[in-house]
Symmetry: C2
Subunit: 494 residues, 2 copies
Amino acid sequence: MKKVASGISPLIAIDRALRKPLHRQIYDAYRGAIVGHSLRAGDRVPSTRLLASDLGISRIPILNAYAQLQAEGYFETRVGAGTIVSASLPDQMVAVRPSRTGAAFPNHRGVRRLSKQSEALPLGESPLRRGPGAFSVNQIAVDQFPFQIWNSLVVRHCRRASMNSLNYGNPMGLSELCGAIATYLRTARGVRCEPEQIMIVSGSQQGLEIATRVLLDRGDSVWMEEPGYSLARSVFAFHGCQILPVPVDGEGLNVAAGIKIGRSARAALVTPSHQHPLGVTMSASRRLQLLQWAESSGSWILEDDYDSEYRYESMPIASLQGLDANARVIYIGTFSKVLFPSLRLGYLVIPQDLVARFRAARVAIDLNPPVFSQSVLADFIHEGHFSRHLRRMRILYGERSRAMVRAIRDELGPAAEITGGDAGMNLSITLKGIDDQAIADEAARQNLWLVPLSSSYLRRPGRQGFILGFGNVPVEQIQGAVRKLISTINRAGA
Amino acid sequence: MKKVASGISPLIAIDRALRKPLHRQIYDAYRGAIVGHSLRAGDRVPSTRLLASDLGISRIPILNAYAQLQAEGYFETRVGAGTIVSASLPDQMVAVRPSRTGAAFPNHRGVRRLSKQSEALPLGESPLRRGPGAFSVNQIAVDQFPFQIWNSLVVRHCRRASMNSLNYGNPMGLSELCGAIATYLRTARGVRCEPEQIMIVSGSQQGLEIATRVLLDRGDSVWMEEPGYSLARSVFAFHGCQILPVPVDGEGLNVAAGIKIGRSARAALVTPSHQHPLGVTMSASRRLQLLQWAESSGSWILEDDYDSEYRYESMPIASLQGLDANARVIYIGTFSKVLFPSLRLGYLVIPQDLVARFRAARVAIDLNPPVFSQSVLADFIHEGHFSRHLRRMRILYGERSRAMVRAIRDELGPAAEITGGDAGMNLSITLKGIDDQAIADEAARQNLWLVPLSSSYLRRPGRQGFILGFGNVPVEQIQGAVRKLISTINRAGA
């Protein structure tokens, strides 16, 4: 049964007390809306029958008004699409169009004051949104995702819609999914947790945001790895926290240096499994020092374990959270790397005594996560597709990583220091005597998406070089992409 | 082709330098994980072949270890499910289970300080999450949603997965959806907007949260309707704003009273189309006064238009935003009422000159909304299903509302003042001489979900009565539910 699509009813103020006849009131309302650009070319208008029912009047005046609007060229009818606003409008009525982006804003009256903390936010494009092309960071191999399986689960859950699946959900997340994640984290990541400690969030970014709001006050200081993850800086800055950059060396964050810089910091954000961007694994002794500091200073540790599932030269490293006897670690994980980013699902593991407060914060911020994608993901994990996909991708990304390291060594020799290629989906190269930002800008014009290493430093200048993603570059294209990169570097350096 | 599901590999540290043989190392790792409750009854373990590949060792020691674990009852194999941890574990090894929710928390060492603002959050259950039963607020008629159509769009989009649909998306939202919403809002709500002013959020709650973070600083004061929407209070409280309750009368928020209470407030949150919870429509003169105040004091207006699509006695009322010549209104809308709450999609309409700042805030908070549900919804609107669903629901909820008003009048007579039944999915009744909280607690034990009206007041005591949802109560059940409600009130009053 094919139904003609129905249009949206415009706001038409019908007034029987007016001397203007009803058909004229309707005609004027539509013509005004079209001339004033509320209704635009191609917009559907409701059928006369539906509009009569919406307005609570007879169809006759509406038929008259529509006939006139059609005769004058404002409306046209299309078979199967009903009545729409014409693409070609009569009598140059379309001249006064409101200004769009790029044009100067109208001169609004009055002061337009925004929050001070929002001034701290960078206004540029996120490094995570780039066009197709080599080296974008945190990009997955989209063609390798098991769509057939995923889609069959989607279809299955479509059939199961119920009151529970449509209604407001649990602020912590769907219990089936929390259970599946807890099992996975205990087994594969050495995390100590029960399902009720898991909160489903939209990704690491929201996880960090919620933890920050619950744990830190404005003005509190927080340790960040230097260099570190630039998008995490936005969370702290937007909350008005003071970021203390703590240097990273071959063993990860230098805890002793952190204590010198700010012993009483309220929290530390770390990436112990695979430091972003340098790729170092935090040593056991540093992990213990960090836990010791947190306990003695009453501070919190935010462990961002964003891509620890992919480790190519050895088994994955157990989480810092699993070593912590004092429940000072908030563990943050995401499905953006192991499944796909547009899914917007990640999770927090929250110490038992803080669960109620985190839950309340979640309700205040956005009530609860979407339910449908959680159900699909819960089944994807329960039925073993998740672990199978992880295994396949670990092999695939391992090959891509090795090919990338080989190509860089072949082309650049010892001039480039390569770090972080043994895990995750990105590696970093450090180069001396270049301007990494200028080169990245030039490379973007050739569809090569480099994140300048210097942008990961709070205190400039740091190392010069690039964070290079290899997740979406097939092995056979890597050599070519690396050559293109090097010729860009050479040209910019010349 | 049926594959046996694959289990997650546990963290096993294989050390060839140890004198302990490999099969013993594997046996000990699994036994330790089971005894320590990292692995639990029913958890799947990987096949010997997969584990050999993950650990980079031969299959022989793994086969030996698995055989022993199975012989001792730790593992069992199930046809089609592979090897799992046994449900019945041997030798009472399962005794020392970590304490779960409800038990006392372990005595962690060190100070456990949380943010001051998180202390302002209510720790109880949200009023939006209730069991099945009459009168839950903001509950839709789940059985009336056009699943067949929605699901066919879901299936269509499953087939269309591409790099764009999997990757990080636009922080503002999918452009097709923003365009569809802009057209709808211009036509049906009288909102002045271009697609680039629309930001997709997870619902009104997140919309209000983002606007608050961008527009207000800690300590700033903000007008809220008194009585007003209690979940909105959490947003302001969590951000450290001072809430100024401004009385609502028959014309909506009393602007003159607001100016007396706090002329220099930085913002006002209003529900002009259908005041929550009293259901008043803000009069034209109040709207102009409010806009005038905002301009002269340099303040912002947050217009929450949460259920304005459903209006039963007249056409919907045009938005306040459409009257505003100075771009001082941030318009907040949601699909939770017109589609379903678990979808978690809503939108902001942002003044052009503030778009860049809102966008930056959105990136900091959670990067971007999930992409899949946005594509489905964009088609649902474009193809006319949305407007058809709106029309059907307007008729259905109109009938339910009238039946509810009739039943209350029949049963309670003039003792109850009924407000707000001419729009939305909730109405309020005011009753004298009752304890609404006590009655609501008692009613919940009988699956009647009442929100006490007094909870909508910041300054207690306000009116006594209830906010009653009629969205999910079929007409034929309304009389019975109202009778049950009244006998509960009478019993509690006795």
